[in-house]
């Protein structure tokens, strides 16, 4: 239980926490504010904090000038597709390692994780050449494939961590009562696995949505997701701060909200349960 603390101490920690929280959040807040300014006011010195001419014009221009929806759709297809395929491959694998472990299971798990240790940049050249030769450069299918493989070890590990926590006693009890494997799956395992499945799905969607190395190097226009689209604003002719801010806000808003919902699972997922 929480210890008794003095009102003064609560007040001091509250003030300090809000101050630091605000400072860390400031870049995002500033970006959102800028997205509602005119280009002129976005540059103005001294900066305008709230007393400016609020406009949603940037949001419409972003779409008109550069087809934001096209890139957002790419992001959804690439992140969603790679996550779904990874789940389809990973669920049986994680299930089998958690419920029918063999002597080699631990080695297999560690080996899978080790494929994640190979830095993407180390294999950029062959992947680029394979993509070029198979006509996969700047295609959604190519990016779905590469992000799926890149995230697969993490997906398997997260699912394994969750599956292992399902108590075996319940399964045995069900088996004693004469449940078949099929019934066991549908009525006993699935309901207990759903929270783990859901958070794995969400976290991997977030990882895939934000992935930038492969998307920047393997996509240019057709298949470019939001990461690549936003990067195009770094060129000199693209220096429109308010529009950049509007595009950025649209690109990160859904993922930040998803992230907030999954923060607890994030810790377990990214540290493979090593921190509880």
């Amino acid at each position: 239980m929480a210890r008794k603390v003095t009102a003064r101490r609560v007040w001091v920690s509250t003030a300090a926490a809000w101050l630091f929280g605000f400072l860390i959040f400031l870049p995002i807040l500033w970006m959102v504010l800028t997205s509602f300014k005119t280009e002129l006011e976005a540059f103005s010195m001294p900066p305008k904090f709230l007393l400016f001419h609020w406009t949603t014009e940037n949001y419409t221009t972003v779409q008109e000038r550069s087809d934001y929806v096209h890139h957002a759709l790419n992001s959804i297809i690439i992140a969603g597709g790679s996550t779904l395929i990874a789940m389809i491959i990973a669920i049986p694998a994680a299930w089998s390692m958690a419920f029918a472990p063999t002597k080699r299971t631990k080695d297999v798990l560690l080996w899978m994780l080790s494929t994640k240790m190979m830095p993407s940049v180390g294999v950029l050249v062959p992947i680029y050449l394979i993509f070029r030769d198979f006509g996969l450069l700047d295609t959604r299918a190519g990016l779905v494939m590469i992000l799926c493989l890149g995230n697969l070890p993490i997906v398997i590990w997260m699912l394994f961590t969750y599956f292992k926590e399902i108590p075996k006693d319940i399964l045995e009890a069900a088996r004693m009562d004469g449940a078949t494997i099929g019934r066991e799956l549908v009525y006993v395992l699935t309901p207990m696995a759903v929270p783990g499945l859901a958070s794995t799905l969400l976290l991997n969607f977030i990882l895939a949505w934000n992935e930038a190395f492969w998307t920047l190097n393997l996509s240019t226009l057709e298949a470019a997701p939001l990461t690549t689209f936003i990067a195009s604003y770094s060129s000199p002719e693209g220096l429109f701060w308010a529009k950049l801010s509007a595009a950025s806000t649209l690109a990160i808003a859904p993922i930040i909200i998803l992230g907030w919902f999954t923060q607890r699972q994030l810790v377990r997922g990214l540290t493979f349960g090593a921190v509880k």
Partner: protein, 290 residues
Amino acid sequence: MATEQTQVLGRALLTPAVALLFIWMIVPLAMTIYFSTLHYSLLDAETWSFVGLENFRYFLTDPAFLTALRNTLVLVGSVLAITILLGTPLALLLDQQVVGRSVVRLMVIAPFFVMPTVSALVWKNLLMHPVSGLFAWIATLVGATPIDWFNDVPLLAVILIVAWQWLPFATLILLTALQSQDEEQKEAAEMDGASAVSTFIYLTLPHLARPITVVILIETIFLLTVFAEIFVTTGGGPGLATTNIAFLIYQQALVQYDVGNASAGGLVAVVIANIVAFFLVRIVGRNLEA
């Protein structure tokens, strides 16, 4: 334990994942090793020849490699130091009774979910711009000269951006660990007259040792290959000031089209990452037994 039937089923279910990951690991790696022994440029794809270890000699003795290696180490080291030295007090603070703690928590972890290209551009243009960035305005407020971040201290600018993105990760993991700390133990220490400082040193810090190790290892894996932040802000420059190994290899592969040299560099990156991974796998593996 498991019946023969489930064993067979288990193996069948595991095979697709193992096969895919095996291909994903072995094919590009084998190709990289093969290319690294060739003199092979995409600009002149007809005339390639076997050169043995020449590419490695060239890559490792290139002054750019030493600069990139140094930049990589400085970047990884600084970001680790910043995220842990700031993340620990921040986690301790959020572990206190704070009014509206859940809102503060959401603000603190938000940067982790911002895609790297967005955070790079927002920091570069809206905050660090030497004329009309927010930092420049703050500098003039206190009577200082605004810093031209990406010209005068480019590596520091990149470090700050990356540290901002990773501070939430360190804070969140340390906070989670703090919340599992034994409250009664702390209470007992307090009753015995232990000061807040000694409670922190003798109880909290040892409790945080493991999560800090986890943070260091996981961040290192990701920070070794920081790419998008450099790609978007400085393009590795000015000169080689912000070129890390990941960016150097990218330049040799997709800017200079020198496949042989880039492959040799890629293998060097793989070796460096695997030295780090060796320790990570050991720690995570130990956890697996428990």
